[in-house]
């Protein structure tokens, strides 16, 4: 080993000028700092740019145009902007996706971390990660042509006949069900599949980071395997799993292409899940390149600013929660 190193260090290839040797370290340090600062500054630059570029829109409309209103007018030509349908679409699709994805993901995480035979663990982890690697346009294409026409027809039909009949709550599930499946419910389905790998992977790592003594103590007290998981491991890792959920929520809020392809892109004040809708990300994707006026593009940037801020807060909160579990178990979990 030692001779190898000496050979490396004295090889003619590395015969740097003596004078560079003395300056090498400061230069290297400077390069490292420059790279780091660039990474750090990017976040600030993105936030600052969005803030700066939406100045006129913020002065004109403030934040009130994002709030709920019955007046769903989005008329770029008349410079009249009410963004509630987009905000509603983003929130409702993401929340439904989270509701569907969390039990599923935590179940899969439990299987991967606690039950799965060792030989099966690696291939399963890979497959879950491949699910996350599929480009979102492919999800969108598959969703709109293959998955949703069937799934939304089926589930939407059942929902509108059962939950849709309940007074009050029924407005959320009122029909008719669109033939193509392009709807908020459809977007939520596709989002569910897309965020599941994220929540699963983080929850799995959180479960794996819990010390074995916890499992053993619970089993030694006579609990069944499920009771150990349900009463000991899940409460122990709860904040980490919550972090995973927030992270998934952040993904869902910001997801653009797949949602734009399957949600139908129609501005409507009807709150039902079964009608086509619009989201904040998809209105930016569809309209920004062809914005009719300066104010129009500024309003879209302001919507982008809100998205940026929301995902920022969610991410910071998620990292903090996961970090708090890792801290307790003195084991590193990175998202």
């Amino acid at each position: 080993m030692l001779t190898q190193f000496k050979a490396i260090l004295s090889s003619p290839r590395l015969a740097w000028p003596k004078r560079l040797y003395g300056h090498g370290d400061p230069i290297w340090k400077l390069l490292l700092i420059l790279g780091s600062v660039l990474v750090a500054v990017l976040i600030i630059a993105i936030g600052w740019m969005l803030w700066n570029q939406s100045a006129d829109a913020r002065a004109e409309f403030g934040w009130g145009f994002l709030l709920p209103s019955l007046d769903a007018r989005w008329d770029p030509v008349a410079d009249s902007f009410r963004a509630w349908p987009f905000v509603y679409g983003t929130l409702v699709t993401s929340l439904v996706a989270i509701l569907l994805a969390v039990p599923m993901s935590v179940g899969v995480a439990i299987f991967l971390a606690e039950l799965c035979p060792t030989w099966l663990r690696l291939p399963l982890n890979w497959m879950i990660e491949l699910l996350a690697a599929i480009p979102s346009v492919v999800y969108g294409l598959w969703g709109i042509f293959v998955f949703l026409p069937k799934a939304v027809q089926l589930v939407g039909g059942v929902l509108s006949k059962t939950l849709g009949q309940i007074p009050g709550l029924g407005v959320l599930f009122a029909g008719p069900v669109p033939q193509s499946g392009a709807s908020r419910l459809g977007a939520a389905f596709v989002l569910t599949i897309m965020i599941m790998p994220t929540i699963t992977a983080v929850s799995r790592d959180v479960l794996l980071s819990i010390p074995n003594s916890q499992r053993e103590a619970s089993l030694a007290l006579g609990s069944t395997k499920w009771e150990a998981i349900w009463r000991v491991l899940l409460p122990y890792g709860l904040s980490g799993i919550l972090g995973a959920v927030l992270l998934g929520l952040g993904r869902a809020l910001g997801e653009t292409m797949a949602v734009t392809m399957v949600i139908g892109n129609s501005i409507t004040a009807r709150p039902t899940l079964l009608s086509p809708g619009y989201t904040m990300a998809s209105v930016i994707a569809n309209e920004f390149a062809e914005a009719v006026s300066k104010l129009h593009s500024q309003v879209l940037i302001e919507i982008g600013l809100v998205l940026f801020f929301l995902t920022l807060v969610l991410n910071v909160a998620a990292r903090f929660l996961v970090w708090s579990v890792a801290q307790r178990t003195s084991c590193e979990v990175r998202l």
């Binding site: 030692l2 700092i33 990017l42 976040i43 179940g107 346009v137 598959w142 994707a285 920004f288 998205l307």
Partner: protein
Amino acid sequence: MNVLESQPMVNQRALGARRKATNAIMLSLTAVMTLLALVPLFWIIGYVVYRGGQSLDWAFFTQLPKPLGMEGGGILHALEGTIVMTILAAVFATPPGVLAAFYSAYHPNTPLGVVVRFSTDVLSGVPSIVIGLFGYAVLVVPAGHYSALAGGAALAIVMLPTIVRTTDEMLKMVPHSLREASLALGAPEWKTSLQVVFPAALNGIITGFLLAVARAAGETAPLLFTALGNERYEIGLIIRNGLAQRQSALQILGRIVDQPVDSLPLTLWKYAQQPYPERIEQSWTIALVLMILVLFLNIIARLWVEARRRRLQG
């Protein structure tokens, strides 16, 4: 707490049976969920291969698109655009990413080290459409036109967190003794980093790089307002024209990167929204090409890292 005393003894056996049943049901439920979660993966891959494979031929990769409504034509423009922008993104993102990772791996508890890790984590959560807006405002507006350069820079922002994070992890896996041995022999810090630590971590860094490339190659949203799209983009033609006009290599390179381009996912998105059946058919074929590219890169990267982990551990 005396849990047992609060339960009447008579029910103990029934309780035991119920607990066992709950255990069995819930545990098998998690297995069922795992199977269910994998259904979309195989459904998507299977269907994309089935639909996309039908019109996959050599011409698809070597021809420009035909006018709307006509049969045939290919996606050469998008393929070349994806390659150009991915290379640009890798060139933009790798040096700062690796440098930042070196910093955060060896100075983890300094303020800047914490800031680097924090902002990497946050950056990976920024919606890609927002990165597109950023690229538009910072690169397209000042330049006055859409370009592959702007698209590549936007993709670089998408790649950056993956590169920093995996490089950081791989650097931490390099045994400390290696680094200390080099320093003890009197090698300066920079030489130790570049010629001892970096080669030792190189395999892992390449893994992270491949994952980042896979992610960038599949991204659409950052390109919507930076690269825009260009159905007449053909590098071969640009080079031939450039040579005919006796332009220098630098000028030709400038023409390649400084005009709007398409990419595979961008073209897929546009084609999928058009009412022409042959375009829809082509969008499935693009999906197939994209999936092969992305899944291939992912599998290579993971095999690589797995082999390496085995070697380090045993």
